[in-house]
Subunit: 334 residues, 2 copies
């Protein structure tokens, strides 16, 4: 059973997941994407038996589960960081707090095509991926053990992807991750002072300033944030205030898919198809944060080596001003 442990000083929870790897020599080489031939890829159609049993899939024609002919397929992670069965069993040990590492860890296979990336896909099919995120969130929200659902994508070896076939991941957690907690606290403080959502204020100011805009449509804005940790970091925000991604309307996804696609294609053009991560930041499942928290997606190309300085301090040196990176991205011919 994995362990969830809390740092007593800063309150940060970590997963100690010893099932995944144990001996020091496992760490000697830094992890890289396994260059699997498509015929061996567990995410390719026809290889459904190589994954745990599917949780859901979208298929043009209904067939039995775990067969081909799907367009998006969701399966449990074969090497989950957390375990779905069991209770939390919260315990104190002197200063320290722990609980069982209970959670869901799922993989969203975005395409049946081994070589297709999310940026290459038609926007209608990106919409389907967004629907899959939403459907899984709605389902997992019914499990009272969970307080937060993380959805993220690692694209490319240096962003942490271990399989080449395009996929995202979902982790449902019995705690709220520290950084989300800090964002929510910041939003709450602003709301208490101003009675406005701070992300709504950011959208207004960034639209007025203009020089950090990467892309825009009637429902969404893509900007480089004013104080980015990383070069070419981008945020995609719904223009209308909304705390919960999973409560989005159909028209929202019809506008989110093309702006996500555009952001990725602009990034691919300017930075020659970099490795990247994106992370969906949405409200906790049951806390009343909807008035002041504003869901969004953060996209982080993996370009610079993060050094000791950044690790130890949460304080980042970014060699590119966001106004500069926005200009490169905005003006890229795609």
């Amino acid at each position: 059973m994995p362990d969830l442990r809390r740092d007593p000083i800063v309150g940060r929870w970590v997963i100690i997941s010893t099932e995944r790897s144990a001996r020091p020599h496992d760490f000697v080489p830094v992890q890289t994407t396994r260059p699997l031939a498509a015929t061996l890829c567990p995410f390719c159609p026809g290889q459904e038996r190589l994954t745990p049993k599917e949780i859901m899939a979208y298929r043009p024609q209904p067939v039995e589960p775990n067969n081909p002919n799907w367009t998006v397929r969701v399966v449990p992670n074969k090497f989950p960081a957390l375990q779905i069965e069991g209770n939390l069993d919260r315990q104190g040990h002197g200063l320290y707090d722990r609980m069982n590492g209970i959670g869901a860890h799922e993989v969203i296979i975005e395409t049946p095509n081994h070589t297709e990336s999310l940026a290459d896909m038609p926007t209608k099919r990106i919409e389907d991926v967004l629907w899959a995120y939403r459907d899984r969130m709605i389902d997992l929200k019914n499990d009272v053990r969970f307080r937060y659902i993380l959805i993220f994508k690692n694209h490319g070896a240096s962003a942490g992807a271990t399989l080449e076939h395009s996929h995202s991941q979902l982790i449902a957690l019995p705690i709220i991750p520290t950084s989300m907690f800090e964002e929510i606290d910041g939003c709450r403080a602003h709301y208490e002072q101003k009675e406005r959502c701070i992300y709504c204020d950011i959208i207004r100011q960034d639209l007025a300033d203009g020089d950090r805009i990467v892309a825009e449509n009637p429902e969404f804005l893509c900007v480089t944030p004013y104080a980015p940790r990383f070069p070419f970091e981008m945020w995609i925000l719904p223009k209308r205030h909304a705390g919960h991604f999973e409560e989005s309307q159909k028209t929202q996804f019809e506008f989110l898919a093309p702006i996500l696609s555009e952001a990725l294609r602009r990034m691919d053009k300017v930075l020659a198809k970099p490795s990247y991560n994106f992370i969906l930041h949405s409200s906790p499942l049951h806390e009343k944060t909807g008035d002041f928290y504003h869901w969004h997606i953060e996209i982080i190309p993996k370009l610079t080596q993060v050094a000791g300085f950044e690790w130890g301090t949460g304080f980042y040196i970014n060699p590119v001003a966001p106004e500069e990176s926005a200009k490169f991205l905005r003006e890229a011919g795609i």
Copy 2:
């Protein structure tokens, strides 16, 4: 002039240092250590003209500055993230806050020997490196613009080192980095509740538990923390409460040098000389935090690729329990 910018949501300051790199194609390859021949290394004796003018150096015999025959040498970083001259010029721009990127960015060259690592050095010479840290902190503390001094080491390419010759870095900042602020807040909360330092409590519990101890001497304890973010993460803590590294007595350094050396050698043995970072966590320069903050060193071997999940959330999956890694480290024959 570099820019210091504050994220309006979480309050995190970042350095936008556009002097260092500007065009997107600069980012296409991930940075690696330049395999410089020792004859071209700016940190080697005889090449002193290749660095900016030295700030201080330890020499067995006094000679003119910027000559060989030093054992430790401190120079300004040739590509500083911050600029030493100027005033802060704090400004607001709507929601956003900025100030000039004023700060010191120095390099501590730990050895005249190009191929020697800190772990290989005799402890007397490691003591000298610690004295150099202290002397620079004492000097920079006189500059009222600075609120925090970061000292850290990137060892190896995948930990962010750009030059092979063993060195540490110092950055003096006009702000307190977010993570330090969070640690201090956590310590203050514990102190207000218990009237005890939380790190002192950790030392007592870890000594009693025993299974997270890596090394120990009369003045210092090296442990793997209870909730480590990274496999084989280690903390070195002074057993006697002390908030400020730079106020250490001579005997403290006589005990710190050997335990730092031992920790690095145990890590090198178990993990086959990994890349690593260490970061000195000490009190802010002028805040009254000495009663409840406890300085320490955090050592982080660079083993696992940090994925999107960790970046976006500050929530880490660690595949090794600290009790396990402490056992491997403690039992390594060195």
